[in-house]
């Protein structure tokens, strides 16, 4: 039981500080990055804090190198993270694919700003969500978390590390500039409420070790470089020994295994929040700062007697498809507010498949969507 009689520790942090502090609790001991607004405070904080806990901070020459550095550090056994924004996320894509292919656990934070290109460096966007899903080539598993409140930014950052370690794959934390830069009260969890997961290490001696040995399941145990276990890593399709192969059957089964690590564990990975959903007629589906606007709009609509409710994914990828399909069958309409020109909309539209009308609210001027704008759409549905 949680210590309900004890008071929670309360912090006053920015979203970016919250990610940095939570990463340390999760066990992050290596960060490499290149400064970019609006994510730079994550690097600032960790440049001071990591050395205090025996970790390493590296400011790299560019975004690509920063991604490469955390992959290398991950192979030595460290929990690792980098942080960036849209332009840097674009540059990192090739190495993100490499990390997925060699199954290197890592956490990549994208504090989303307006785009495309350098766009609006100091203002919000939510327009990198499809890039997170499809940004690097090939079929690979994608996990992306989208917390909206800073309490949740804290717990979801820890969860991002846990998922990366558990499934040996890159995990994205996508927050928008509003969440990254706002300072807010953060009620910290008690220690016994925090679960920390570490990657499984090999139980076999070095001479019997293979880096992609699936004897124990779809996630192979991972040895640390420089610990006596010698192994090869390549972005090419590879066999269980880590060496290149073009064997069609093996390439097929290994790529399927990569995808299965996530697809077979949706129950573990997907999280969402439902508000006022029991008798819902008008459903809002939103994440991040848009969801915080929607929360107010829904409360206001309810006070006017309108049966509005919200479905808010905390895990954006893999998307909670089953839940949204089910809801689509019993509501009058769905509203999708987002700070982009309709990216989440594509996903919702695909899942709803004509079962109910969908309205979009899309803003890309750098100003968040306000509760009144969502309420106005709820009222006229």
């Amino acid at each position: 039981m949680p210590n309900s009689t004890l008071k929670r520790r309360v912090k006053f942090w920015t979203g970016n500080e919250t990610i940095a502090e939570a990463a340390l609790v999760a066990g992050c001991r290596f960060f490499a990055g290149y400064p970019i607004t609006p994510s730079s405070e994550i690097a600032h904080v960790l440049s001071q804090r990591l050395p205090m806990v025996g970790g390493k901070f590296l400011q790299m020459e560019d975004e690509i190198a920063a991604m490469g550095a955390i992959i290398g550090a991950s192979l030595t056994g460290d929990k690792v993270m980098t942080a960036t924004s849209g332009p840097g996320f674009s540059l990192k894509q090739e190495n993100i694919g490499f990390a997925a292919m060699i199954e290197a656990p890592c956490v990549v934070v994208n504090v989303m700003r307006g785009g495309p290109s350098t766009g609006l460096p100091t203002a919000l966007g939510q327009s990198d969500i499809m890039q997170a899903r499809w940004g690097t080539h090939g079929d690979r598993p994608v996990i992306a978390l989208v917390p909206a409140y800073l309490d949740e930014v804290y717990t979801e950052t820890i969860r991002a590390f846990n998922l990366a370690e558990k499934y040996r794959t890159p995990v994205f934390i996508l927050i928008d500039e509003v969440i990254g830069h706002l300072s807010e009260r953060v009620d910290l969890p008690f220690d016994d409420e925090i679960e920390i997961i570490n990657r499984t290490r090999p139980s076999v001696p070095p001479e019997d070790f293979k880096p992609f040995d699936t004897t124990w399941g779809d996630v192979p145990p991972m040895a640390d470089y420089f610990s006596g276990y010698r192994f090869h890593m390549t972005g090419l399709n590879h066999d269980s020994g880590g060496f290149p192969t073009t064997d069609p059957a093996l390439c097929q089964s290994e790529n399927e295994r990569l995808m299965r690590k996530v697809d077979a564990n949706l129950y573990d990975i997907i999280r969402f929040e439902q508000t006022s959903i029991d008798d819902v007629e008008i459903l809002v589906i939103a994440f991040g700062s848009s969801a915080r606007a929607a929360a107010v709009a829904i409360a206001d609509a309810r006070s006017k007697g309108i049966k509005a409710g919200m479905f808010r994914p905390l895990t954006l990828w893999p998307f909670p498809e089953k839940e949204v399909r089910e809801l689509a069958g019993r509501v009058k309409g769905i509203i999708v507010p987002e700070a982009n020109l309709g990216q989440l909309f594509y996903e919702i539209d695909r899942l709803v498949a004509g079962k109910c009308p969908i309205k979009r609210i899309n803003k890309v001027g750098g100003v968040p969507i306000y509760p009144g704008e969502i309420l106005a759409q709820i009222e006229v549905f």
Binding site: V10, F12, T37, P121, T122, A123, Y149, V178, I179, H181, L182, S183, E184, R185, S289, R292, A293, A295, V296, A299, P368, Y370, P371, G372
Partner: protein, 183 residues
């Protein structure tokens, strides 16, 4: 404080006003056990660009992190008013520096004029105390939080060795506000 309070501090980058928002929110959270947040807006030109920080204080968890009905606004530059003079609640307490801000909406707001920059220059000799003076003036006009709570938060944020001067700056602003209220 009633259940919900919103404040906006608007200036140009470099005047140090974003810090005032941080201190106010921290005072509410740490010393009055309320919920609070602050949300800054600035441009890529950090110095000289219009900048603001919005603070929301509430008795319960705050959902939307931007202001929608502002109770108090401080404005230290005309173009900050031009850019950020929206979302004010009717009857909003609007504090302006008359040397820097000439034209505001005087019909829907209660406008108070205080030469904050001049006061800081004359009383404190250093412009870094602008935010502490402004914060004192804001609390003097609104009593949104207890003076003690704000002072404690200010002491926590103040660099070592400047505590006394910051406290003095706060009092200068606070007292000037009380004079304004009487006049």
């Amino acid at each position: 404080m009633t259940g919900h309070f919103e404040a906006r501090f608007a200036a140009v980058g470099g005047q140090g006003i974003l810090l005032a928002g941080d201190i106010l929110a921290e005072a509410a959270i740490n010393f009055e056990n309320l919920y609070a947040l602050d949300s800054p807006t600035y441009t890529a030109q950090v110095r000289g660009g219009p900048t603001k920080v919005d603070v929301i204080i509430d008795k319960s968890r705050i959902l939307f992190p931007r202001t929608t009905a502002i109770d108090f606004m401080l404005c230290l530059a005309q173009r900050s008013w031009d850019k950020f003079g929206y979302d004010l609640k009717p009857g909003c307490i609007l504090l302006i520096d008359p040397f820097l801000v000439q034209q505001v909406d005087e019909v829907n707001n209660k406008v108070y004029r205080m030469p904050i920059i001049e006061i800081t220059k004359n009383e404190m000799k250093k412009m870094v105390y602008t935010s502490a003076v402004a914060l004192g003036a804001m609390i003097g006009l609104t009593e949104a939080l207890n003076v003690d709570s704000v002072l404690k938060a200010l002491m926590k944020k103040a660099p070592k060795g400047t505590e006394e001067q910051n406290q003095k700056a706060f009092s200068v602003g606070y007292d000037a506000a009380k004079v304004l209220l009487k006049s």
